[in-house]
Each structure stands twice: as structure tokens, then as C-alpha cells.
């Protein structure tokens, strides 16, 4: 069975390490916060100027002056801080943020990512995505392996306008976990009940099998 969005988020949460500062993009990445192992401490950075972001406020306790980058009302946790946008991107470009998790429309086997523009459709903008992917030491992409009509989104070369080049390190899709290697995608893990053959079928780019491809464990 392919993973649902929560399953993808739960698998990505296993990549978090104690002491990490993490930036979560909109969509599936936001769900990662729900699956942090209890034994580790991480802090979430929101690029609009919050470090130490907490859960949504209780009803009636919303504050218009406290939102995340998705413009949602949030709370802060003990040890949180606020700062301006230039400082926020100093944290990002300066590699002080350890891990960026974001969504993608397409990823290429060389680690290029496209997630901001579809020609001919309304373009809303890249927000902080170009800064994040250009600088982060470690980028994990949370995405669906294929589009609704079954066409692969893991490609030899991206067809959409790029957000960044040679930057993605790891992909977690509904079908498996893949790294970006020097010669293409490297399959590391398959989702429970998903065969290696299914991943190969769903991947347009070159796919190499890792040393010990195994099923994800939760």
C-alpha cells in the first residue's frame, strides 16, 4: 500500500535528529511536526521571523501578530524568538538551519527542483523557496511520485521552471525513500507493500537500487 500524506510525514520525521533547527514548507511538510519522536528536541523556524514555533492556538487565543509563513495563526514554545526577515534568511543562507523539508512538482535525478511556476497558469511566486533550496545543507522533498494521470514527477530533467539546481538530497514519496546519487536516483526503502518494480515503473529518471533496499519501518 502506498503511503498517504501522513505516512510520508511520519517517515520524514525519522530523519530529524536531536538539536536540529528545521524549516517546514507548506503542505505535507507541515504534518511532519505531528510525528517528532518524544526523545529528541528540535526547533521549527518559520521564515517570516519565528524560531521555536508551536502548535495552533486554542480557540479564542489567536493573535494577529503571531503567524507562520503560511499566514496561519500559531503559538510559540519555551525558548522561542522573533526576528526580522533579513535575519531570518541569514539563518537560512548561513546554514544555521539544519534541515529544510519542502514539497515539489518535479525533481530531477541531479537534484534540481521545480515547485513554483507552471507556465500558462497564475504564478503566485516563489516566496522563500529559492533561498531555502539554494542554501540548505540538507533538503528533503516530500512529494507524490506521479501526478494524477500516473506520469512520473521524478525525472531525468525537470520540465517546469526551476526553483534551484543540484540541491535536493533525499525524496520521500508515497512509494519509497530515494537519495540523489551521482548517477541518478538511488532507491533506499519501499513503502509497506510496495514492490521495487512499482517504484521503477513510477520513476522516469535513472533509478539505481541501493545496497540493501528494504521496506520502511515505523
Amino acid at each position: 500500500m502506498a503511503l498517504d500524506k501522513n505516512g510520508i510525514a511520519q517517515r520524514i520525521a525519522q530523519e530529524l535528529k536531536n538539536g536540529y533547527y528545521v524549516n517546514l514548507g507548506i503542505g505535507i511538510p507541515t504534518l511532519v511536526a505531528n510525528f517528532i519522536p518524544k526523545e529528541i528536541n528540535v526547533e521549527f523556524q518559520s521564515e517570516n521571523g519565528v524560531l521555536g514555533m508551536g502548535p495552533f492556538p486554542f480557540e479564542g487565543e489567536e493573535d494577529a501578530d503571531l503567524i507562520n509563513a503560511g499566514k496561519q495563526t500559531i503559538t510559540t514554545l519555551k525558548g522561542a524568538s522573533f526576528f526580522d526577515s533579513a535575519t531570518s534568511f541569514a539563518m537560512i543562507r548561513g546554514k544555521h538551519v539544519n534541515l529544510t523539508i519542502l514539497g515539489a512538482m518535479e525533481v530531477s535525478q541531479t537534484g534540481d527542483i521545480a515547485n513554483w511556476k507552471i507556465p500558462g497558469k497564475m504564478v503566485k511566486g516563489m516566496g522563500g523557496a529559492m533561498d531555502l533550496v539554494a542554501s540548505a545543507e540538507n533538503i528533503i522533498v516530500a512529494m507524490m511520485h506521479t501526478n494524477r494521470t500516473g506520469i512520473s514527477k521524478l525525472l531525468k530533467k525537470c520540465s517546469l521552471p526551476l526553483t534551484g539546481v543540484n540541491c535536493v538530497k533525499k525524496i520521500v514519496s508515497e512509494l519509497g525513500v530515494l537519495d540523489i546519487g551521482p548517477n541518478g536516483f538511488i532507491l533506499r526503502e519501499t513503502a509497506p507493500g510496495v514492490s521495487i518494480e512499482e517504484v521503477i515503473q513510477a520513476t522516469e529518471g535513472d533509478l539505481i537500487l541501493g545496497d540493501e533496499v528494504h521496506e520502511m519501518s515505523f
Binding site: 518559520s46 521564515e47 517570516n48 521571523g49 519565528v50 502548535p55 495552533f56 492556538p57 486554542f58 480557540e59 479564542g60 487565543e61 489567536e62 493573535d63 494577529a64 501578530d65 503571531l66 503567524i67 507562520n68 509563513a69 503560511g70 499566514k71 496561519q72 495563526t73 500559531i74 522573533f82 526576528f83 526580522d84 526577515s85 533579513a86 531570518s88 534568511f89 537560512i92 543562507r93 534540481d112 497564475m122 504564478v123 503566485k124 511566486g125 516563489m126 516566496g127 522563500g128 523557496a129 529559492m130 533561498d131 539554494a134 542554501s135 521552471p161 526551476l162 526553483t163 534551484g164 539546481v165 543540484n166
Partner: protein, 233 residues
Amino acid sequence: MIDKTVSNVSLALKGVKSNMTLLLGGFGLCGIPENAIAELVRLKTTNLSCISNNAGVDDFGLGLLLKQKQIKKMIASYVGENEEFERQMLSGELEVELIPQGTLAERARAAQAGIPAFFTPAGFGTEIAEGKEGREFNGKMHVLENAFKADFGFIKAWKGDQAGNLIFKGSARNFNPVMCGAAKITVAEVEELVPAGTLDPNEIHVSGIFVQRIFEGTDYEKRIEQRTVRPKI
């Protein structure tokens, strides 16, 4: 003490004319200069170039200026949530330049700090780097970006004093501090204006030297764009 106070919004915006370039603080609708925007609506100045992370929603923020077709060009990083914006953009009435959010912040900071240009890795290898100088530093390619040049900067703070010193609240800080001093004239509006000497100098976020005019705003709506809550247990 150099007194920066003006008594009302109309004096604060004295000298604003059509065809000017404006910097506006805020992220979404959080920390936007509501009073200055309302005054721009009243002044009906046109052909404005607006530099702001977002472009408001249909009936609030910069959306109010878009509705009256006062904006000629919008420079932003993300412009969703606004139907009139989309209509004007697709019909070609409105020129739009989308730039990475960190680059937007740094172009303002560079203007504030007297740095004419800087190299950033953001956008290298993408269409936003086309026509810009690229250079390698430490084995990685970067793009040359210029400081903004603007006539007026409109920013919003929580508290301020007569000397123009500012304190921000929560995530309403965002682009506001980096836009102070980045335009020829910076106009700060605050929720609470206090006499000089009232605020603790240790607690000031932006020094009054970056602010030319300060006034106490009125009727802040502080609209929430996405009200997300969890139930009380």
C-alpha cells in the same frame, strides 16, 4: 532629542506623488502599515511601484490600492490570495516582478546599510538569474542583486517614541525593520507613541536614526488571513 513626530497621517505622507517607488513592510496582512495604505487610497496617487513581500487581499492591505488601479508595478515574493491582482496581472495592466523572499529582504537591508549590491546563491540556475551577473565563491555559483532604490518607506511598529525608536511585536516584525532607512523618507506608524525616555534603550529594535517621521496610527484592524486553532481540551 531629535523629534520625529508628526501629528497625523496626512502630514506623515506629505510629498508622496504619483510615479514614486514605495517600500511597504508586512508579511501577508501581519504588520502592514494600515494607516499609510488608507491615506494612499485617499490621495489617489497613481502609477506607483510597490515593493512588499505580498500584495494584500482583495479588500485589505495593498489590495485596496490595486482596486483603484494605483499600482503600476508590484515587486513581491508571493502574490496569491488576491483575485483583482490576478486579473490585472493576466490582462497586462499590472507589471509584476517576483523575487526570492530572502533576496527581497536583503535588497532592502543593503539599501539601509549603504551596500549597492551583493551576491546570493538564491535563484542561481533559474529564470530569475537571467541577465544577472553570476560569480563563483567557494565552489558555488551566486547571483548579483542590487539594493532597492525607493522614495518612501512605510512601516508599522508596535510601540515607538518621539525620537523615532521602534519596538515590534511577534511576527509583525518581519520586513519592517529592514525597510527602515531603505528609502529616502521612512514613515513609521505605531500603535502606541510615547514620549522620548519612556522606552528602555536596551529594548529598542530599530534606532530612530532610520526613521524620518513617526505618528500614532488609529483604528487598527489587524486582520487574520488564516485563522487556525485547536479545540480546548
